[in-house]
Symmetry: C2
Amino acid sequence: MEITTEIYTGDSKEQLKQLPNNSVDLIVTSPPYADQRKYTYGGIHHDKYVDWFLLISEQLLRVLNPTGTFILNIKEKVVEGERSTYVMELILEMRKQGWLWTEEFIWHKKNCYPGKWPNRFRDAWERLLQFNKNRKFHMYQEEVMVPMGEWVNARLKNLSETDKTRDNSKVGSGFGKNISNWLNRDKAYPTNVLHLATECNNKNHSAAFPEELPEWFIKLFTKENDTVLDPFMGSGTTLSVANRMKRNSIGIDIIPEYCEMVKKQLNLVESYLFEPKEEYETIKPKRRIFVR
Amino acid sequence: MEITTEIYTGDSKEQLKQLPNNSVDLIVTSPPYADQRKYTYGGIHHDKYVDWFLLISEQLLRVLNPTGTFILNIKEKVVEGERSTYVMELILEMRKQGWLWTEEFIWHKKNCYPGKWPNRFRDAWERLLQFNKNRKFHMYQEEVMVPMGEWVNARLKNLSETDKTRDNSKVGSGFGKNISNWLNRDKAYPTNVLHLATECNNKNHSAAFPEELPEWFIKLFTKENDTVLDPFMGSGTTLSVANRMKRNSIGIDIIPEYCEMVKKQLNLVESYLFEPKEEYETIKPKRRIFVR
DNA sequence: GTTCCGCATGAATCGATAG
DNA sequence: ACTATCGATTCATGCGGAA
């Protein structure tokens, strides 16, 4: 089975209209953060950010498979000494739009940007907001298991009798233990805090997005031949990881140079296809499918 | 100069009225979270939580010194498959009340609650929200600098093989790279991510609040003889740390047993004082000042 | 005195079952 | 239908007793 990559050049809000309903299994993206400077690349003023993003998230809600997941990497800036509130407002508005705010992962950036301010420390974390369409969605937890802590080596050498049978806690916390379940287990499930370094080498793109980040979520929320979408593709990290992991991918970016760069980087071969007619749009540009 | 400790038994909303305006330099507290601690504090429903807390934060705003800081430890729980939004709503409302939302620190709990669920990982972090009255506030950054040498030694000692795998650090890009930075410096400023374990030893109080947490904020935001307030004292961790660090402290709790326990623990000597008359309340109970 | 090892415990969450 | 309670799952830590 062939793995395809589609790249659209233009405004995400418009380009997304070309995608069919329920056709994407995972959306991972890091949109341009709100910025006080209005006219830089992607810099949307924080007052307008929520309205701007809601038009995009509306389309994302449409194209996402009901069992799929949307991961939004975002962090509020400091405005006049305060953390801006647009991320919180966005979450509240997206819920009204129909999204479920399932979870908030923390990306702990181990080597965050250096700097010093009189009343503030370095910002070493970002939000990874998980949104879903339904309470039931696909999650392949085993794919991202991590080695257990050291303690388990010592712990499992000798099992006492209470270890072997379930031993209920006395204080009514409803929590007991059954250590024997841990035999033959060398891995544990991770938590909702991710420890990753930021990418040091900038790839001609301002956003530093380590490959491990989309990789982790692609492993967790998709299987091979699923489709991954990044509506703010940038340098194409999400797409190249998806490609390597045998997932179909779709990228959108407003800057033609990035689109060209990503195509070149992925060694894509363009193939024109006959498109089935869909109701959601009568006239649409030809979809450009790339096959590696 | 003597260090004093005051303990008030009762509802924070009411007890706080006894404190003068602008008299506290730091508030550090961990209130009962919504729907939690039903058997000790009664458990506030998440729909009522914001209104309930606003009456308290209104008083906190009054008693806090204009150069002081309020640190609020809180985390939303899952309700019907979604993260509850009451914390975000609380932040938005507190800003309307006059608070500045200056920063959000992350407390990464290394030993978080275990468990496995089909669509969710363990929750390993909590919010430490920083609020201020003014953009200018006291912050003694040097007090919490991390000594590089010690930290390097401790880190290297604990750097087991599983640590390396878990951190997914690649030689030369992540961990190794930072080592070269450490060579030329004695101390470094911390970031806004705190790595602490919860305390699971029983102190007759269910909250796992490690001493390092209030200690860090007391160092950062106060100096000796300043006053620290915890309106949800619980087992008194904040007070005992403040006492040890030569800060005056004030604790409030609705449960008499906790108040008695804290007094006993701190070996406090009660001394009745003549109170100056204040305008904000004509009749008020005698303040109980404890001196160690 | 150290170091080692056994063990209870925790701001949790989901789904099934009971009222 | 809707709420309340219950059982099942899980892992890192610090304490205390033992070696």
